[in-house]
Assembly symmetry: C2
Homo-oligomer: 271 residues x 2
């Protein structure tokens, strides 16, 4: 395992670059700029251009597995080639939202931490402790659990109230934070839930939050930074579609950079 | 899409073969019988032998994605080759437990239903309705949602009580069954939860349940059949490790068949 980023190192990276920005490489082969042939090789080429134009202004990249799996057998190869292109001093997240019983979770952990060697993987907490702990056994690697997500469907179960008056997602945070520590566990908290962020920060004062939903999903950046940032940083704020598809033309990469810079600027209140 | 199995057809298959058996191809490359070289090609060869010895005595196969992803780039290829070996009149499940926001869910649906062309995929309900509906849009394909799982961790969140006195998993069943119908939605209900099966059957009288946990996890088969079976069938009962690793020698396939037959016999009270 080459990739290994501690909380202190991640915090240093965020302060040095003055940004929480995580670029989401959720690259849809059907949405590539029009001059690209719609091939898996084009996805690698496209990703390479995006990485070149953003690596100095972000601290993290998130690769959404669905977009690679949709390419079939070649998808995993594109995923690996993209990961190989990412700079060493960036925090690489496999956005996979896996979650299964212990012996299966151990296989997923092997796939993501040994084989793909990413820094972190997103996980679904529905199946409880033994679905998460096999990931926590990897030193220097991170588990990012779904807490309160950015989508409409978060109301269906996450925001149901338990008998003690707390929400299901609050129970998820309170229980699961005991399985690991703030040094190996983070949480997905949607930017569209910015108002809830300050109460969530009270429950988890130290943990990093991965915050999707500031781009295409239109969460409020100022609120997110105000309610979520800590002295250490405490946030990775992801934008995918708004950066990747800033332009459909040959200027896609420079337009992607402009959008990334715009988001980075919005985050400056946190420094 | 070649694979297309309606509820009526699945029910007919179950009654014709007199079994609910689903064979779990959770093939761990490190647990192959000792005479196999530990290569991806061996996994295909091993799976082929298991399929040959079990296809006439089971109605379904379940492929656990973790075990294929752990093989890296070649894993997806092994997965596809294995799916190609499965007989047409069997119900093929990708046990993937995916769950993500709508645009991502649509990509996963494409990966599983278009590209791999399986009959069904297992899904995690934590993110709610819009994480599930893109899968329900595929005619003749099935979504299998996690309800009450077989592992110890099911107590952490699934068995927490909501303000109306119901369990979280019951809310998941009651809410999500309205998103689709019994013709395109099934639920994972662990065999280790056999005692809860009769109350779950009251909530969902028509839906099929995928029941893991009768083999290595030691759930009670008689209870599962008694509490879960319906006139239509209503059950797919999965065993993975107890069949795959019945022997570590050259007789692995015949021993696998013996174990599958033993389980099939245990299920006969349902017919």
């Amino acid at each position: 395992m080459k990739r290994f980023l501690t909380r202190t190192q991640l915090s240093a990276l965020i302060h040095q670059k003055k940004t929480f920005l995580c670029v989401g490489l959720d690259t849809d082969i059907n949405k590539l700029p029009s001059h690209f042939p719609k091939t898996p090789a084009s996805v690698v080429e496209f990703n390479e251009s995006i990485i070149e134009e953003t690596h100095d202004i972000c601290v993290s990249y998130k690769l959404n597995l669905a977009f690679y799996e949709a390419m079939g057998t070649e998808g995993w190869d594109v995923l690996r080639k993209t990961i190989d292109l990412l700079p060493e001093n960036s925090f690489v997240i496999a956005d996979a939202k896996r979650g299964d019983i212990g012996n299966t979770a151990a296989m997923y952990a092997e796939a993501f931490f040994k084989d793909l060697d990413v820094d972190a993987v997103t996980l679904s907490p529905y199946m409880g402790k033994d679905s998460i702990t096999p990931f926590l056994d990897y030193k220097g690697k991170w588990s990012i659990l779904l807490g309160l997500t950015s989508n409409e469907g978060s109301k269906d179960f996450q925001m149901q109230k338990l008998q003690d008056g707390s929400y299901v997602y609050e129970q998820v945070l309170k229980t699961s934070c005991q399985w690991g520590t703030a040094d190996n566990t983070m949480y997905v908290i949607g930017a569209t839930q910015a108002a809830s962020l300050s109460s969530i920060r009270k429950i988890l004062p130290e943990h990093f939050f991965l915050v999707p939903g500031v781009g295409a999903q239109a969460g409020d950046m100022a609120e997110v930074v105000k309610n979520g940032a800590t002295d250490e940083g405490g946030l990775l704020i992801n934008a995918s579609r708004s950066i990747l598809y800033a332009s459909n033309g040959k200027d896609f990469a420079t337009k992607a950079r402009e959008e990334a810079l715009r988001l980075k600027k919005q985050m400056e209140t946190g420094f």
